[in-house]
Amino acid sequence: MPLPRLIPCLDVANGRVVKGIQFEQLRDVGDPVALAQAYSDGGADELVFLDITATPSGAATMVEVVRRVADVVTIPFTVGGGIRSVEDAARIIESGADRVALNSAALATPELISAVAARFGSQAVVVSIDAKDDVVYSHGGRTPTAFRTVPWAVEVAARGAGEILLTSINRDGGRQGYDLTLTQQVRDAVDIAVIASGGAGSVADVVAALRITDAALIASIVHDDPTSIVGLREELKAAGISLRSVVQR
């Protein structure tokens, strides 16, 4: 298996990075390109940008953010939020993103997963699953659906998703630790990579997630100071987690 990945997540609204608690109460935390560069320099393995506005005007703003990020950042990044068609996905990938994350649109039209995978390959398709235990939610974690977490994960993998971004709505922004039980259940059920998300509050939380799955999404614990990722990496290595060698140029 490739090395465990540490993935800062940047929620973007109107071209700015914001952070909310349980998807609400947003505050501005900075410019996406500057933050992306700081995380990249600090040894982040990858980045995720989620457009939380998901409106038509927001989509145009997001494409511009993707272009600016792709021009300066030399680590892979995923972009999600408001991607409803193969054309939306193409616009984001052609602007320089490595992968798109599908969420509500995949729940409404599961065929979208295979359509994007057929055009750009499975490695370009992440399916975001926002879950409260075994219930999958859509529309930014606000709307419960009839989908169940583990069966939906199995279905998205079968339809060609290359990776699952599993967010525990209960834990998101609360800094009480990842939902390790749910993460383990999903990872055991699929043969694609699973990113644990929602709830990282300490180094120990990240260590616990990386011991059971492929990657950990982090936000709250590093957004006040992106350079803190350097120290976080050192602490993870001291706890026995193997991370990539970082070469500064």
Partner: protein, 184 residues
Amino acid sequence: MTTVIVVDYGAGNTRSVRAALTTLGHTSEVSADPTAISEAPFVVLPGVGAARQAMEHLNETGAADALRQRVTAAKPVLGICLGMQLALEASQEDGGVKGLGIVEGFVVRLDAPRIPRLGWADVDPWGQSFYFAHSYVAESTWSVATSEGVCAVIEKGSFLGVQFHPEKSGGAGLAFLERCLSLV
């Protein structure tokens, strides 16, 4: 400064490769024009998309012949990910696709616990981590470096192919690209 041709095969993202070249002080053009491919000091065959569509595009535009002739003439070509796999004789992808045949060997479905194989992994014997994102892999006697036991780099004459994405591998990737271009 070198003007690099990034070969266009109609499959999306060439922006990241071009951005990395810009960072290193080189200009680049995206083209499938056989003359441009023949005459450029350095050519990159990038790696996004599906093998069948890529080969159809390369054959239709004449880029395929231009790439083969370039390597015969000992001019450098760097193949990245799918761009490396296309140089081999054939691939199992898309039900079987004939490749450029520049390098002896075949492309087969990865045998790995989780596919696609996504993330950073060490390249041996280089001792540095690079970023991989692939479901297929090369099997060739021209393999010169591996990662977790699978082919990571092939080198034959003036063709260098890498399974990882140097344009997405941070400082290690930029340093690798810089070494490739310093030979021009």
